[in-house]
Amino acid sequence: MALPYSVLKVCGDIVFAARGGDIYSFTTGLEYISAWKYPVKQANAPSGLSSEPAASPAPECPPAKRRRVEPEDGSAPAAQAAEPETTEAKNKKPQQQQQQQQKRKTGHQKHTVELPIIQGLYTTTDGRHVVAITGSDKTIWVFEHDGAGNLKQLSQRMMPKRPCSLAITPDNKTILSADKFGDVFALPLIYSEQQPKETDASSAASTPVSTPSTPQSFKPQANELTIHTKRNLKALANQKLGLKHAGSAKTVEPVFEHTLLLGHVSMLTAIAVATKGDSRYYIITADRDEHIRVSRGMPQAHMIEGFCLGHDEFVSRLCIPDTRPEVLISGGGDDDLFVWDWAAGKPLAKTNLLGHVQKLLPAINKIAVIRILACRPRQEDGNGPAWVFAVCERIPALFAYELLQDGTLQHRQTIPTPGNPLDVEFLESSSQLLLAMDPDAAAREEGNVTSSSLRVLSYEPATASWQLADNESGRVKGLPVADDGDAAVLSAEDVQRALYTTESLRKTNSEPAE
């Protein structure tokens, strides 16, 4: 099965659209310009990263994380993904799964390697750099953009944990990476070769990075005074005996410059940068445990300014409208969209979204917001309404709201789409929306997944409404035949797993017996 376009990013008059691990660039009229392909050998040798000359910061990259192959009820992988690896080794898995795991270890490794999928595309405000994250290999890619749609890869950096979302500071010099482990790291946008590898230790020391240098000679941290039970004392004795072997345990630390700024004890889901006045900016982070945190910008990112609390389920998306920088819109597993005065940590409004979903699909009882877009189409008479669009996972529609002056969201329109939207971007020059979606079953059967994946919506100022343009409008022009990915062979399950990841953040409320 082929992959649809899943991530969009508009940069001036250029549209970047990611499909799988590849990034295509188009004009706003969807004429093909160029493509950047994920290094091919990655497909069967995930640890071959390091041979790439461009950057390869870490000489020894751990192989990509293997995942379950067997179909699951959907909630189990979520629970596991949520828990850092520490608990993974627990013996709670049923016998059967353990056996399957062993089988995987020996044989079907290739099959279980996660697809390299671009999970996010970001641009600097000057449009000269594009940054992408691929989840399966925890890598942040930085490209130079010539302004005409051509990308040149500058660096690839493998993070210690899987990045979930990125933001770029207003000065366009630093990438803020929020990861699955709850930490936010700052990386210089430009990976400097001058940074000699020796300085790694000192730079790590100068920054509050989590582990303050593991000493070469392992020393047990417990002693006879701190532990008392027979079993622990015995373990300590054993530890002391086995000291020589302990030295071989190595932790893989990236060798490039990265600074720990802040962290949650929860999986981070979104990060945004908000500005106040001319020179102040704040880092806003959202996590799976309902929190939205507002911290100061660097170098005071350790200072928490406040929280925006009120979500009852995970938060998955943050959006600060360009035209209303004092307002934060958030969405996640709740039935509502929230609007905040982020600087004060105050809720401004809460707008129901599930109700509108149910008007379309009455059977739905929970939603997961995967995208919030704010835009303001130009109008001849000055400023038109500020629109906010919400996309929910596996819901084939766009929900259009108007952001009113007092911060409330007024539902204006529900636009059914021929497939599940995956991303939406605003084309400012033509006042159109570009939609990337997972086309419906009919298109899939015809083998038109890629070609029917993009659609355009145009704005009609007279009625202040959005209209889905015909199929032809979203047709990409001039795409090389070899890039028409419909031939790609992927199981439907793999595609599903790659495209729909947000609902799995929901907590299942099943606690193992205490």
């Binding site: 417990a222 802040l262 900016y281 170098p299 350790h302 299942t508």
Partner: protein, 305 residues
């Protein structure tokens, strides 16, 4: 197997009896509340926590400090008028307010020794113990209940032990759900789980990133008290608080002058246990500094003092 079952049954019966007996004067016994000493702070326990501090209902924890209903009515209305109308049911029925806020938190209070020792020392202050283990929390709650009953006849205006309470919570995740910015004056972190393995260091209760949350809930001048018997953990905690720009360490003289330090050394269950084994105890206290002015001119990387 039957022995196990009997044990569990006995526990349940014992605890149910304490719960129901409103005249009990005998303190609960720990042996009915034992629980494995470690909990995974990353997993989704079935925790109960308020969505935000404004939603927290403290009235059942500190019944003697609840604002009487008639007084409560008028300010609540004023609040409603000013606040944006929030159709949630919570807004319809705001939680009962207390005459004062909780100001002291014992994070990982264990069996509550520190809480009970602090109660008479700070009789005017509300103290909250937070513990992640269900049974242990239950023990402390039962213990406080019995202590309150024992002192029910006290002539004092605020009855002994009415100022302490215990909650089950995962503070590593949900501290800001309970406390507002700068609400607390003291935080105690006594004999935390040392998490010896490097792989588990992220689970330590003191870390560069968590210290930011402690700084957030502490008012300027507020103090974090730490004590441990593990030298390595002591160094870890000192190192991480020292690096944090919002904290400064108290001098030894200041520590010695603080009565809370002495109580922390001797009254916690772990502290007593360490004494029995004649182990060492390491104390370190850190003061929350005044709020720094915003310093974030784009690209400015001047180091702060």
């Amino acid at each position: 197997m039957t022995a196990l079952k009997n044990k569990r049954q006995k526990r349940e019966e014992y605890r149910a009896a304490i719960q129901q007996d409103d005249g009990a004067t005998e303190l609960p016994r720990k042996k009915f509340y034992r629980q494995r000493a470690h909990a995974n702070p990353f997993s989704d326990h079935q925790l109960i926590y308020p969505p935000s501090p404004d939603h927290m209902d403290w009235s059942s924890l500190y019944p003697d400090y609840v604002v009487p209903e008639e007084e409560d009515a008028s300010p609540a209305e004023g609040q409603d008028a000013s606040a944006k109308e929030d159709e949630a049911s919570l807004a319809d029925k705001p939680p009962r307010r207390l005459t004062q806020d909780v100001e002291v938190a014992d994070i990982g209070c264990g069996f509550g020794g520190l809480l009970i020792a602090l109660a008479p020392v700070m009789p005017q202050t509300l103290i909250l113990g937070l513990e992640i283990r269900v049974s242990v929390t239950q023990y402390v709650q039962d213990r406080i209940k019995v202590l309150r009953q024992q002192n029910a006849a006290s002539p004092l205006p605020q009855k002994p032990y009415s100022n302490i309470a215990c909650l089950r919570a995962n503070t590593m995740k949900f501290l800001p759900n309970f406390f507002r910015k700068a609400q607390l004056s003291k935080i105690f972190i006594c004999f935390p789980d040392p998490h010896f393995k490097v792989r588990k260091h992220k689970q330590r209760i003191v870390s560069a990133t968590l210290n930011s949350e402690y700084a957030y809930v502490l008012r300027p001048g507020g103090v974090v008290y730490t004590i441990t018997d593990v030298p390595d953990l002591h160094e870890w905690m000192v190192g991480h608080f020292a690096k944090h720009l919002s904290f400064e360490r108290l001098t030894t003289e200041e520590e010695d002058a603080d009565p809370c330090v002495a109580i922390m050394r001797t009254e916690t269950e772990e502290g007593k246990k360490v004494e029995r084994h004649s182990g060492a105890k390491f104390v370190a206290c850190f003061r929350r500094k005044e709020e720094l002015p915003y310093e974030g001119e784009v690209g400015d990387v001047k180091m702060l003092e």
